[in-house]
Symmetry: C2
Subunit: 395 residues, 2 copies
């Protein structure tokens, strides 16, 4: 049988990150977007799971409603209100199967095949592929140190009348690790509103600030109901349990619930119970602070190793939070050759092309993380990358 | 902001079953497709979860690969081979977030917006809505006691050149509870092959036979690689944990993996570990036999209560397995009025219209289940339905 697949999936390649993760073997893991295993509150999870399967097993194992476990919806809504100033009274919360599902559902709710999604360039490959898997076209706007230019966004929206969604990671962006300034956030919101195009604000790293000043979320400025806010527990509790959440205007949430029902009926209920109880019965703020301290320390170590060892021709971003650092080689360098040589030498990284909106475009950059590797591996890995780099930088 | 949603979601209504489940309150639960809580091996799950979070917590809480947990893939493949004679050497297995996701991914892999899915009529509402949520058109073929007519399928495929998928639940069909005969299975396979259209065989109830003779799966006859086989642990271990699986030719599986990556990255890994260990370390066959015995007994009780009490004008199917019984009122009855009266009297059931491929079509039928209610509630509930029926059957 010769298979004729749908147009939307026919051109879609497996995620480069997932493929690297699958084949990374024993190399130093600078490539994955995994949280540190040290961030998992294992003792609490062990206690809570024992209690849930002892005292609430039927509810934890039976079908549940698509919107999510009501007590978790409440505790997430309370957190979004207190921590990010989001008006959850008018923007109800639903629970999704990781942040990934929230992103995909938002696109499904607003985009027909052939519609356009505007995104930062580079951006999170998982989101870009989700948009592609729904048959949309991507238009990337090159990101600057303080976010995309509102003027370029205005132009892109004018030039693309079928634009239905603007996808942004304003805080500790993936892959660059940088943050959109308050001024640009305000201007971006005004531009989107003027064009009547929805913003999908993806904020999986928002809780993970270890330096610099808090910047309000786009959703906190959203008086007109044009922002869909997505996030998850993946980076603050556990990635493997696949629990995320969305806050958006009621009408939008209703459509996303219907679409979610068609995808997986509901998110596994046991981990929803566990998240709720961890948030309300344990020191959640203290737990988050512990992760921020951990990543702050690891990031500082990586910055210092980079500055000490890396050829100055390779520049890097300086994150105030999140997981990622973005390195850029001199224009026209053989970035792919360099990353392959690093992998051969025992360090993995993600080539920048993986994050391009235009899959044919080139890149001089690559992404690494300080979250997953041990301190020893950060020192060793940057040392290896610096050594390998010497052969790839023209002097 | 006035929202303009995608065409595919704009017309999609929330699932009638989910809505009834959400609002069923204290009524006798004849409506849900929930497995019996007695079918959950709670002690084993408690032991296994304690052990996993004690000895394997990092792997259970970290990101994993999209295809699924390798040991579970192996044990599912072995089971499909031994129990259903499926050639898993040439039809690899992936793990999905419930059977629902397998169904949705199969459609996404083969269908563009505007393509056609052929299905049994009536059929599983969750699948029909998944097809609708991807912008496909549904063409239903009225199901007979022994499955759809291969001749009608042939005609439908001829009349619908954009048909890309044939969706069937050959064994203990939802909602009818009936099974497609071996002769029809063979003929259906030949028709699909001649038209080069893929079959999606949904078999979530296949393990739950309590009487009658085993009938080979369509997938076991699939020498040409045109059958995608979907199933799940929802009805044999736990529905809330959201773990399902698909077996299909390698090229199809590759596309489904890429699509799954875009939806939820991977299925929660903890319950994948748990399923694998339950299958290999506990008496899985004994556990399945226990569920079959339970449902066989409950079904017999419901059949006897129906035959004793229900007006003869209301006919019912006699299942050999699975969860469902399908009742049909005399042509032109006010079925909806009757179901509403039953709900008011304290018994919930699902109106047949919920399962129609054509949402405008009427129905004289409704679905009930013996799986969820207690024995006492089966007796009481059928008694109430029979009493209410007397006012709704014209003598």
């Amino acid at each position: 049988m010769e298979y004729i697949f749908s147009d939307k999936l026919n051109s879609l390649k497996p995620s480069a990150i997932r493929e690297i993760l699958k084949n990374s073997g024993n190399s130093i893991p600078f490539s994955a977007g995994n949280p540190s295993p040290l961030s998992f509150p294992v003792d609490a999870i062990r206690e809570l799971s024992a209690d849930i399967f002892q005292n609430n097993s039927t509810a934890a194992l039976q079908y549940s409603i698509t919107e999510g476990y009501a007590p978790l919806i409440e505790s997430v809504a309370a957190r979004l209100k207190s921590r990010f100033n989001i008006d959850t009274d008018h923007n109800p919360v639903i629970i999704t199967s990781g942040g990934q599902q929230g992103i995909e559902l938002a696109c499904k709710a607003f985009c027909n095949e052939g519609d356009t999604v505007i995104c930062e360039n580079p951006s999170f490959i998982g989101a870009l592929n989700a948009f592609r898997s729904l048959g949309t076209n991507l238009v990337g706007i090159d990101i600057e140190g303080d976010g995309i230019s509102p003027e370029k966004l205005d132009l892109a929206l004018t030039e693309n009348p079928r634009a239905k969604l603007i996808y942004l990671i304003p805080t500790f962006q993936n892959p660059r690790g940088t943050t959109t300034s308050l001024e640009k956030r305000k201007a971006i919101y005004e531009v989107a509103l003027r064009h009547k195009v929805m913003i999908l604000e993806d904020n999986p790293y928002g809780e993970l600030r270890f330096s610099g000043e808090e910047i309000p979320t786009l959703k906190s400025m959203d008086t007109e109901g044009i922002v869909i806010y997505c996030s998850s527990f993946s980076k603050i509790l556990s990635a493997g349990m696949r629990v995320g959440f969305v806050s958006a205007p009621e009408a939008v949430i209703q459509k996303m619930v219907v679409a979610k029902q068609c995808e997986d009926v509901h998110t596994n209920i046991f981990f929803q119970m566990l998240c709720h109880r961890f948030m309300t019965e344990y020191d959640f703020d203290g737990h988050i602070k512990g992760i921020c301290d951990l990543y702050g320390r690891k990031c500082a170590l990586m910055m210092s190793e980079l500055d000490k060892n890396m050829p100055k021709e390779i520049t890097h971003t300086v994150p105030d939070g999140g997981l990622f650092v973005w390195l850029t080689m001199p224009a026209g360098s053989d970035m792919l050759g360099y990353i392959k040589a690093c992998t051969a030498a025992g360090v993995s990284a993600v080539p920048g092309i993986a994050f391009n909106a235009d899959t044919e475009a080139s890149s001089d950059s690559f992404r690494i993380t300080y979250a997953t590797p041990s301190d020893e591996d950060i020192v060793k890995g940057i040392g290896i990358m610096a050594d390998v780099a010497k052969n790839w930088i023209k002097s």
